[in-house]
């Protein structure tokens, strides 16, 4: 038996013995998972599962052991993922620490920053949020104005961030600040790590047209941030941000896919408008609209698969993430829209009597979906990227 086979057998046994049964139940949204941090109380089973995985290095399987990671190679990490999937186990810990700032620190951070932050991320002690966008800096992120002025061994930070997901539940923020107003936009930005409990930090949740959201405004008034918290070098923050942005785009395309989407829409349509003598959705126009969506969805899924096959065959990744983000979000919007159409008058409820829970959720999901083509890089920005970097069309 090879080392990998031994690892698989041991891992399988360990999972069976240590994963609480409730962690095998399917979950509807990522809100049900453990994001870590000190501000949210999680159910006992969730914490037990997380802590057991922390001890084994399974929350960050491929990260170096010296920081609390599992130290696994790619093949072993794949085996772990397969075994967890086979037992329908939910991930023990998620969050921007694991997905964004952790990998960046491992790549670009000083040894001191790594020692300070990686173990806390791996244990789920610290939850991170991202401070990029500002009211005046959305698509044109490089024009951000939050100012950091040197004062001894620290920066004094003043400004405002917007669209910070879960800022009210987070312990630390990684943010972009302007450290050189005289330089070209991209050349005057610094990547900073900031403790959210620092004096001067105020957080306000943002309500969307669809109701409550994880988004927040974060106000920074004379916040002291140690210079040791710079990632990379002062005025070298834009390069750090670019590396993280691409990663975020791939994440978002996946995030809005629900496993049972196609079945749900078909079932709802058949129930709402009935079926004809041949057993088909009785409204031919609605049927054609749904089918057109599912055909486009199938082509999209096949393109994802083709991209994976190409990567396996050794092709370098291109700018497929822009195609995937753009198309994936538009497909999701069409799907949410069709769910509302299927419901008809029952889709008009905000809450209260006369409207079912599922109907209200479908309508809220439709409202929320209008933001998909804006967040994480607007569709227009994706088209710009495809035009310039894939098609090499000229600048003005």
């Amino acid at each position: 038996m090879s080392d990998l086979d031994t690892f698989r057998a041991e891992t399988r046994a360990w999972l069976i013995a240590n994963a609480p049964e409730s962690m095998r139940a399917p979950y509807r949204t990522t809100e049900e998972l453990c994001w870590g941090g000190k501000k949210v109380a999680y159910p006992a089973d969730v914490l037990r599962w997380r802590d057991a995985c922390v001890e084994r290095g399974f929350t960050a399987p491929t990260w170096p052991r010296e920081y609390g990671g599992g130290g696994l190679d790619k093949a072993s990490a794949k085996v772990l993922a397969e075994e967890m999937a086979a037992q329908r186990l939910r991930p023990p810990l998620i969050g921007f620490g694991l997905s964004m700032i952790g990998p960046l620190l491992l790549q670009e951070g000083s040894e001191a920053l790594r020692r300070e932050h990686i173990p806390a991320i791996v244990r789920g002690d610290i939850r991170w949020c991202q401070g990029y966008s500002e009211p005046g800096a959305g698509s044109d992120l490089a024009s951000l104005q939050t100012r950091a002025v040197a004062d001894g061994d620290a920066f004094i930070v003043n400004g405002q961030k917007i669209w910070t997901s879960y800022a009210d539940k987070s312990d630390w923020m990684f943010l972009l600040v302007r450290t050189d107003p005289a330089a070209r936009n991209q050349d005057g930005i610094t990547f900073l790590l900031m403790d959210m409990s620092s004096p001067g930090v105020t957080v306000r949740p943002i309500r969307l047209i669809s109701g409550a959201s994880p988004f927040c405004e974060t106000f920074l008034a004379d916040v002291r941030v140690p210079m040791a918290n710079v990632v990379g070098r002062v005025n070298g923050g834009w390069a750090m941000a670019r590396a993280l942005l691409t990663h975020e785009r791939t994440m978002i395309a996946d995030v809005f896919r629900d496993r049972d989407d196609a079945d749900r829409l078909r079932t709802a349509a058949r129930a709402a408008v009935g079926v004809d003598a041949l057993g088909r959705i009785a409204d031919p126009v609605l049927r054609d609209r749904i089918v057109a969506l599912e055909i486009d969805q199938a082509c999209f899924d096949l393109t994802l698969a083709r991209s994976r096959d190409a990567a396996k065959a050794g092709a370098r990744p291109g700018h497929e993430s822009s195609i995937f983000k753009l198309v994936g979000t538009e497909l999701n919007q069409r799907r949410r829209d069709l769910a509302v159409r299927v419901n008809g008058p029952q889709a008009l409820g905000w809450d209260g009597p006369g409207f079912g829970e599922d109907d209200i959720k479908a309508t809220r999901d439709w409202l929320r979906s209008r933001g998909n083509t804006i967040e994480g890089g607007t569709s227009e920005i994706q088209l710009n990227i495809i035009s310039k970097r894939v098609l090499a069309l000229p600048e003005k």
């Binding site: 078909r266 349509a269 041949l278 088909r280 959705i281 049927r287 054609d288 749904i290 089918v291 057109a292 599912e294 055909i295 486009d296 199938a298 082509c299 999209f300 096949l302 393109t303 698969a305 083709r306 096959d309 190409a310 065959a313 092709a315 195609i323 753009l326 198309v327 227009e380 088209l383 710009n384 495809i386 035009s387 310039k388 894939v390 098609l391 090499a392 069309l393 000229p394 600048e395 003005k396």
Partner: protein
């Protein structure tokens, strides 16, 4: 079931691309529109020497035994050059009809098809049947066929015809000696050979029963998608080049964001179409739900090829509308290809039925 080409398939694609570049210009394609049979017998013989007509068929029947994905890469390159040689009629339609039909007729005809020695046309279309394959006024009785077929692709030059007719048990396929029928070359907008075929009590041999034609059309639909993909790609490439070189108002028009975004959308469509085409061929090779994969691809490509061709003309401005420019050839081919074997709406409806909608 991979969705990417392997090294051998890529080499074949390169060879086919070189062939089109050196042996088949669009000037040649234009001239063939007025030709009696609409293609070059000499070039067909060259393609046969390269083994292309036999690529998908079993070795014991004279083919290369390489499967449909190999034919796909050839079809894509020929499609890019709008080459009119009869791969669709003889190989996709005729070849698959013999492949899935009567074994004796298979052994007689497939080796000759694979060698490029025999031209075949499948006559299924009648005036008024639109996309239905299970309706035919053409009748088979007492060993002969009476009826009329229209827009028979490759009909003018075929040595053998495979005709759909109402026989015992429903609409089946029958083999007819093409020299025994009356045929009239038709002139469709893409200039390729199509013919009216009149059968006045012509002797016919049964090839297969109901269900065979649908199977054959599915194979041909998938192969046609490969040709359409190539043509779409060529029209897009032409347009991209134009956007980069054409200047107005002192700048290349490709620097206008509105045009950039339209080009990016076409590129996205091309990628989605490639995935659907690749998938359909993979399903054909592996065996699976061929009908569903065919309708998925044809539904997507029917609309997409037409849209690319229309946008290409729009992005070229006035010159795109001239007969002298090549884009009109692509638009016309897009329309014919869209409607051949069923348009997008037809295939969406079919995919819906096959998928329980």
């Amino acid at each position: 079931m991979t969705l990417v080409l392997d090294e051998d398939q890529k080499l074949l694609a390169d060879a086919a691309r070189d062939f089109v570049a050196t042996r088949s210009s669009l000037k040649r394609v234009r001239a063939l529109r007025d030709d009696d049979i609409g293609f070059s017998r000499e070039l067909w013989r060259e393609m046969a020497r390269l083994g292309w007509p036999g690529l998908p068929f079993p070795e014991e029947l004279g083919g290369a035994g390489l499967g449909w994905r190999y034919l796909m890469v050839v079809l894509e390159e020929l499609g890019a050059g709008l080459a009119p040689e009869p791969l669709v009629s003889t190989v996709l339609l005729g070849g698959s009809a013999f492949l899935y039909g009567d074994p004796d007729l298979r052994r007689e005809h497939l080796p000759r098809i694979a060698a490029g020695d025999e031209l075949v046309a499948v006559a299924y279309q009648e005036a008024g049947t639109r996309y239905a394959l299970d309706r035919a006024t053409t009748r088979f009785a007492a060993g002969t066929i009476v009826g009329e077929k229209v827009q028979v692709m490759g009909g003018s030059s075929a040595d053998w015809l495979i005709v759909s007719a109402h026989g015992p048990g429903g609409v089946g396929l029958y083999v007819v000696d093409a020299t025994r029928v009356r045929r009239t070359r038709q002139h469709r907008i893409d200039g390729r050979d199509a013919a009216i075929v009149r059968l006045d009590g012509v002797p016919a041999t049964p090839l297969g029963g109901p269900g065979l034609l649908a199977r054959v059309i599915d194979v041909a639909t998938i192969g046609l998608c490969a040709e359409m993909l190539g043509a779409m790609g060529a029209a897009f490439a032409m347009t991209l080049a134009y956007l980069k070189t054409r200047t107005q108002f002192g700048v290349p028009i490709g620097s206008f964001q509105a045009l950039q975004h339209r080009a990016a959308r076409l590129y996205i469509d091309l990628e989605l179409c490639r995935s659907a085409t690749m998938h359909a061929h993979a399903v054909l090779d592996a065996g699976g739900d061929v009908a569903r994969a065919a309708s998925l691809a044809k539904a997507k490509l029917s609309d997409a090829f037409l849209r690319v061709a229309e946008e290409a003309i729009q992005l070229h401005g006035g010159i795109g509308m001239t007969e002298e420019h090549d884009l009109g050839l692509y638009l016309k081919r897009a329309r014919v290809a869209e409607i051949t074997f069923g348009d997008a709406a037809h295939h969406r409806a079919r995919w819906a039925e096959l998928s329980g909608y």
